[in-house]
């Protein structure tokens, strides 16, 4: 049933090891190793993170860019398998989650937090109110950008958790009737988390409560405008929708103004919503619906779907059925990735699995992984085996005769 697939298995002979701070020295040490593996063939490269407190985010991005580089003939990049053995913190945790297939050893820990860039403050210049405020603003925007990048990279992992837990929704509804799919999912997910991880999960839920009406407002104002003449036109629609939202939201606060904090919020919301809208219009979710998404349907829904003969019409129907419960899920995951950028969030390997930050906890056969799909081979039918045996025996007889 299981046939090992190298795309999902770490391999020490094509590996690079990261230990310590992500800095120029580390980059200089591992660059020749990565280039050597890439020049040998296009098989996957394993990036082992032994024990790293993180470091320079730019270096982390350089490592990723280098490892995922095509060759001169534009052959696809080597697949990147990332494995944490002991500790991956900050930029090292982002590096781990950025792998095409991310694995954590049991007992390892991951720490996510926001960007810290002391380098932004020119050391010889004194801090002023303007500089401090600018720095805070830049850090917030940088955090948001990293949160969205993380969400883009890891959302499919989170959606697989939804499919995995979906079969328990009925049981949740027996005790709490009327709960939405997302609520059932979040309740079941939370039960699998450690107390530490539940803190960030709670923060994500609070963020989600704020995002929900904001996104709903923006989507209602931008629907039907999938391909505007200019990108700026779409952006203008988003900004107008956010202005409307913030005005409605603050109608009971006579002191609320755009000048006094409202504009900063508007800018943050704008980046958040634009990323979300772009993600929604991209093919990522659509592709997911056609692939793993169909496993989220009930037997009745599948039967209804299979009655449609035309493949294109069937696919459209499939997307129509799968997408509605997935949309709030993606929105929640965006909230979670933002929450991970607040404070320090230390997670166990199992927490990281459930939160969609990694694909597999090494050796834990109770947690479904994408590897299981990739390595699944149907067992040969006993009848066929017998037939083959008969044929072979027959052939041997004939040869002997």
């Amino acid at each position: 049933l299981i046939k090992p697939d190298q795309n999902y298995r770490p391999h020490p002979s094509r590996a690079v090891y990261i230990d310590g701070v992500l800095d120029d020295q580390l980059l200089s040490r591992i660059t020749p190793q990565i280039l050597k593996h890439q020049s040998q063939n296009r098989n996957p490269i394993t990036l082992y993170i032994l024990n790293s407190p993180g470091g320079n985010v730019g270096i982390m991005q350089d490592i990723l860019r280098l490892a995922q580089m095509p060759d001169q003939d534009a052959t696809n990049p080597c697949r990147l398998i990332t494995v944490v053995t002991t500790k991956a913190q900050s930029a090292a945790a982002d590096l781990l989650s950025s792998g095409d297939y991310a694995i954590a050893l049991p007992g390892s820990t991951l720490l996510y937090h926001g960007v810290r860039t002391p380098g932004l403050i020119p050391s010889l210049q004194p801090l002023t109110a303007e500089r401090t405020s600018l720095l805070a603003h830049i850090l917030r925007l940088t955090n948001d950008a990293y949160a969205m990048a993380l969400a883009r990279k890891a959302e499919q992992r989170f959606m697989l958790r939804f499919i995995l837990l979906r079969h328990g929704f009925q049981k949740v509804r027996e005790t709490s009737p009327g709960m939405s799919d997302l609520d059932c999912f979040l309740q079941l997910l939370s039960a699998n988390l450690s107390s530490g991880a539940r803190k960030v999960f709670k923060k994500a839920q609070e963020r989600y409560v704020r995002y929900q009406p904001l996104f709903a407002k923006v989507i209602s104002k931008t629907q039907g405008t999938r391909a505007p003449e200019r990108r700026a036109k779409m952006e203008a629609r988003i900004i107008k929708a956010i202005v409307d939202f913030e005005m409605t939201n603050s109608k009971n606060d006579p002191n609320w103004t755009f000048k006094d904090g409202g504009l900063t919020r508007l800018v943050e919301d704008f980046f958040l919503v634009s990323e979300y809208v772009e993600g929604e219009q991209s093919d990522r979710v659509r592709h997911w619906c056609l692939s793993l998404g169909k496993l989220s349907l009930t037997k009745e829904e599948l039967a209804e779907l299979n009655e449609i003969k035309d493949e294109n019409a069937r696919n459209e129907k499939l997307i129509e059925k799968v997408q509605p419960p997935v949309k709030p899920l993606v929105m929640f995951f965006v909230a979670l990735c933002h929450a991970l950028q607040e404070d320090d969030n230390e997670l166990t390997a199992t927490d990281s699995y459930w939160l969609g930050l990694i694909d597999e906890v090494m050796g834990n056969s109770s947690l479904l992984t994408p590897r299981w799909f990739a390595e699944y081979v149907e067992d040969p039918q006993p009848d066929t085996d017998e037939k083959e045996k008969d044929i072979n025996e027959g052939a041997a007889h004939a040869a002997g005769a």
Partner: protein, 70 residues
């Protein structure tokens, strides 16, 4: 582990392999699972777990190592 590394270094350059991002292969793999189990994921999970238990015998582990090197 040393043996694994040596074996792999010997085979490497002679077997150039194209695109290895795995997306298309993964979609096909999901399709295979879907054809057998429909949306009954718990049944798939049970079967895989059963197979993992079976493969804990040393001969099976050996077989897997050989397959990876192939």
């Amino acid at each position: 582990m040393d043996n694994l590394a040596n074996d792999n270094e010997r085979e490497s350059p002679a077997q150039p392999k194209a695109a290895n991002t795995g997306d298309k292969e993964f979609d096909e793999a999901v399709e295979r699972v879907y054809r057998k189990y429909g949306s009954d994921l718990p049944a798939f999970v049970r079967d895989v777990q059963r197979d993992i238990q079976k493969s804990h015998s040393s001969s099976e582990v050996q077989r897997k190592v050989v397959r990876i090197n192939d």
